[in-house]
């Protein structure tokens, strides 16, 4: 009989053999350029045998590209790392995702990952309000964006580009308090669409608009670097996406793809996310300074399945209200 230490050693060997990933790995992601570059660098330090190639754009554009490739019968990515679970649900329903039951999800809350292990939420990205410090009024509620002071001063990301923006629209429209007429009221108050959250942040930081609807980490990162902006978690609550990671069934390099998922879910990967200004999904990693603690964060709930059924209608409604 093997001694326990030896057994552990053998298991460790086995485990590291399973992780001896190498070769080319193609990642499609909606992470902003800089953050994606850091993620890539950190992963490659851990798995130097893997050469990681990335394509990045807004979630919706990433998906359009993937759909075009699926249509042509040549999907390129091994791994998807995009903003929202909604898109992942759609892919899962189309049987495009590979289950990875070996993923280590012990430290994650049960609602962070898919129960069939096809996708795994990596963090909590909330959407709230960014404002320029020169604004006449500090916003506290979603309804403040409908006030006369905010007329023509609001910019919001387009769900035709951003996955977080789509989730935000779905959740807000389903919320009894804010209501389904919120977007129409925003449009009536002269709000304009931007391509993505990055463009919202720079429009508010540059003073072109006073208020923006945006994911919290971009606003807080801009503030930390000295841009004249601040961020509020509105009273009614924030909407949230989980930035899930998933492996495609058609992955050409599943070993490296699994190594990437392992890295994102590892303590090390989650600590990197915290340094990048994200609220981590792992319970054993502390959130970055400036965030309300997990318990006090009020999140507007979202029915993923209903939202998935509605997503096309939502996009069309947005295009009709804001012209894309």
């Amino acid at each position: 009989m093997m001694k326990p230490a030896l057994l552990a050693f053998a298991l460790l060997l086995l485990a590291s053999a399973a992780h001896a990933a190498s070769g080319k790995l193609v990642l499609y992601t909606s992470q902003p350029d800089k953050i994606a570059a850091e993620t890539v660098a950190a992963f490659t330090r851990k798995e130097p045998g893997v050469s990681l190639e990335i394509f990045r754009s807004g979630t919706t554009e990433v998906m359009n590209r993937l759909q075009a490739e699926l249509l042509a019968g040549d999907p390129r990515p091994d791994v998807l790392f995009i903003a929202d679970a909604l898109t992942m649900e759609e892919l899962k329903a189309d049987h495009r995702l590979m289950a990875y039951p070996g993923a280590d999800v012990v430290a994650f809350p049960a609602d962070a990952y898919d129960k069939d292990f096809t996708y795994f939420g990596s963090k909590l990205i909330t959407t709230g309000i960014i404002y320029n410090t020169a604004a006449s009024r500090k916003p506290g509620s979603w309804k403040d964006l409908l006030l006369p002071q905010a007329k023509g001063q609001v910019i919001l990301p387009s769900p035709l580009y951003s996955g977080a923006a789509l989730i935000h629209m779905a959740a807000m429209s389903g919320d009894a308090d804010v209501g389904k007429y919120y977007y129409a009221a925003l449009a009536a108050n002269g709000a304009v669409p931007a391509r993505g959250n990055g463009a919202v942040t720079s429009a508010v930081a540059g003073g072109e608009k006073m208020y923006g609807i945006v994911v919290e980490f971009m606003a807080l990162n801009a503030k930390a670097k000295g841009s004249p902006v601040d961020f509020v978690f509105p009273a009614e609550g924030v909407t949230a996406v989980t930035e899930p990671v998933a492996i495609l069934k058609t992955a050409k390099n599943p070993a490296a793809a699994k190594a990437f998922v392992d890295f994102i879910l590892s303590k090390e990967g989650q600590e990197l996310a915290v340094r990048q200004g994200f609220f981590p999904a792992r319970r054993d990693v502390a959130p970055p300074p400036g965030f309300p603690s997990g318990a006090s964060l009020k999140i507007i709930p979202l029915d993923l399945h209903r939202a998935a059924a509605e997503s096309d209608a939502l996009k069309k409604r947005f295009a009709a209200l804001f012209g894309g």
Partner: protein, 565 residues
């Protein structure tokens, strides 16, 4: 046509002739022909009608024509006085002025637009300290039709300038001297002789500015998309980026509409060129410069003022923005940082990859095209081959038509696997190289053909009589003689290809992004600081290449380099 040597073989003159015809047929005729076919004979023709019935199509077409016309007016307003002053007067510092004045044509539109956005926004690093920037909360005044027209006008003014400048230099000196001798002053000469005689080149230059304006992508994309103001090029891009190849037939119809508008402009240009008074070309002796006299100082000041306004201020804002630590932070010595440069140079994988891709694409085009132009130019300039001259004109089309049109045409031809090979070039870097070769062939060809016209044929004839084969003569006699013009052509191709955006934005795929694409996506994604830093580096490279090419200038025929007139 001079008799062709009878020797057969792959390197004989007829074989090379046929090979060149085949290359032009594949690069220019096949894709554009395929696109035209898509318009008349694609399956399910109801599409064309649905595109033409969509209100969005006509709104975009109207925007395209309106901004292009306004832009052309501005190009004429800037280009005409510049050409008159620089060609006819004794203004000092002409070389530097011409160089500065050509910059808006050679710096890619997406970078010019980025620079102007930074100049005119509420966060303007140059205007805010002076209290001239828009109030916080005011959107950038450049977003929309006005800003697009303004920048189109500035970017294409050099085209009007170049055409008119060539016309002015071809004026018969005797006529003006006769007028001067009979006491006509500068204004009188200008009004009664010079402008009436240069109407045709001016019209040609203006048409060219119009055609370039409707094909422009970078300007309306950065200034129009944020305000929901679509022109045809941006509409095509948004459809293809948003929905992928499933809408290929639809965007093909849109690009045909764009091509038709461009052809109207090109037709007008051709008509104006033909109307040029041929008796006045090649007049020989240059005009004696009109003395500006006491007006010298104010006119020089005005010229420099314009250069500051259209070149120095926007590029200065770009530079200042690239040094900001975070967007919206006022720039000072204490806050300035090189972090954005560090990021695009060392940390951003996409920027590094894009630099390599752009270098590869531009380098390959700059290497291949002059080699093609060498024999092509010989058939056109020396052999007077009518077929080859026609082929040369066909090779102009992919450059003259909007880049978006060529890109869609290339996708149509190359999306299916190639016969025999079974590989599709779509989604690879090779489709971009094919499109680049098709688009920029004419740049190399024009320079090299001009070189042939200046060369004495005796050397080649002597070698021919001594029994040297065609390829041998090309290689050992003509190539060395034409090396300077071929190099100038190569630099022109390289410079234009390095900054290419319109083709690339529709043809690129994962890992194959170019510099133009990365600057564009960074700016559109809201990372203005990195976009500015990368743009500054590209501008620096462009200026460096222009200066490098300028060193060749003494060995070149006049007009080989657009910024050395």
């Amino acid at each position: 046509m001079s008799p062709l040597p009878r020797r057969g073989g792959w390197d004989s003159e007829p074989a090379v002739f046929l090979a060149l015809l085949l290359v032009i047929a594949l690069l220019a005729v096949l894709p554009l022909g395929r696109l035209a076919l898509e318009g008349v004979a694609a399956p399910g023709r109801s599409l064309l009608t649905s595109v033409l019935a969509a209100r969005q199509t006509w709104v975009a077409a109207e925007h395209t024509v309106v901004t292009a016309l306004l832009g052309t007016l501005l190009s004429v307003a800037i280009g005409v006085p510049a050409a008159v002053l620089l060609a006819l007067s004794d203004l000092r510092g002409k070389a530097v002025l011409v160089f500065a004045f050509m910059l808006p044509l050679l710096i890619p539109p997406q970078i010019i637009a980025t620079a102007w956005i930074e100049l005119c926004g509420p966060a303007s690093p140059l205007l805010r300290p002076l209290g001239l920037a828009p109030r916080a909360g005011v959107p950038n005044p450049l977003y929309g039709a006005g800003g697009i027209s303004l920048l189109l006008g500035i970017e294409h003014a050099p085209l009007v300038f170049l055409a008119l400048n060539a016309g002015l230099r071809a004026l018969p000196r005797e006529l003006i001297e006769a007028a001067q001798a009979s006491g006509a002053g500068f204004w009188r000469c200008l009004r009664d002789i010079i402008l009436p005689m240069t109407g045709a080149p001016l019209a040609a230059g203006a048409s060219l500015a119009f055609v370039s304006a409707i094909g422009n992508f970078g300007t309306p994309a950065l200034l129009g998309i944020p305000g929901g103001y679509n022109v045809l090029t941006t509409l095509i891009y948004r459809k293809l980026a948003g929905f992928g190849p499933t809408v290929l037939s639809e965007v093909a119809d849109l690009s045909l509409l764009l091509a038709i508008i461009a052809l109207i402009g090109l037709f007008f240009q051709g008509w104006a060129m033909r109307r040029r008074d041929t008796s006045m070309t090649g007049a020989g002796a240059p005009l004696r410069a009109f003395p500006l006299g006491r007006w010298h100082r104010p006119i020089a000041a005005a010229c420099w003022g314009v250069v500051v306004l259209i070149v120095a201020l926007p590029l200065g804002s770009l530079l200042a923005t690239s040094l900001e630590p975070a967007y919206g932070v006022p720039l000072s010595l204490a806050t300035a940082t090189l972090d954005n440069y560090r990021y695009v140079l060392f940390a951003d994988a996409a920027a590094g990859r894009a630099a390599l891709n752009s270098l590869f694409l531009a380098g390959a085009a700059a290497l291949v095209l002059p080699l093609l132009a060498l024999p092509l130019g010989l058939f056109i300039a020396w052999r007077g081959s009518r077929i080859m001259r026609l082929a040369g004109q066909l090779a102009e089309l992919p450059y003259a038509l909007p880049g978006v049109v060529l890109a869609i045409a290339c996708i149509l031809v190359l999306i299916r696997p190639l016969p025999l090979l079974g590989l599709s070039l779509y989604n690879t870097i090779w489709i971009m190289l094919v499109a680049y070769l098709a688009r920029f062939l004419t740049l190399a060809l024009r320079t090299v053909t001009a070189g042939y016209h200046q060369l004495d044929r005796a050397m080649e004839e002597a070698a021919q009589m001594a029994g040297a084969g065609f390829v041998r003569r090309l290689r050992s006699i003509l190539a060395p003689l034409l090396a300077p013009v071929a190099t100038a052509g190569a630099i022109l191709v390289f410079l234009t290809a390095l900054n290419e955006l319109t083709l690339s934005i529709l043809l690129w795929s994962t890992g194959n992004e170019t510099l133009g694409i990365v600057v564009f996506s960074l700016e559109q994604g809201g990372d203005n600081l990195s976009a500015a830093a990368l743009a500054v580096l590209v501008v620096a490279a462009t200026v460096l290449l222009m200066l490098l090419a300028g060193r060749l200038a003494r060995r070149l025929p006049r007009g080989a380099l657009p910024w050395q007139v």
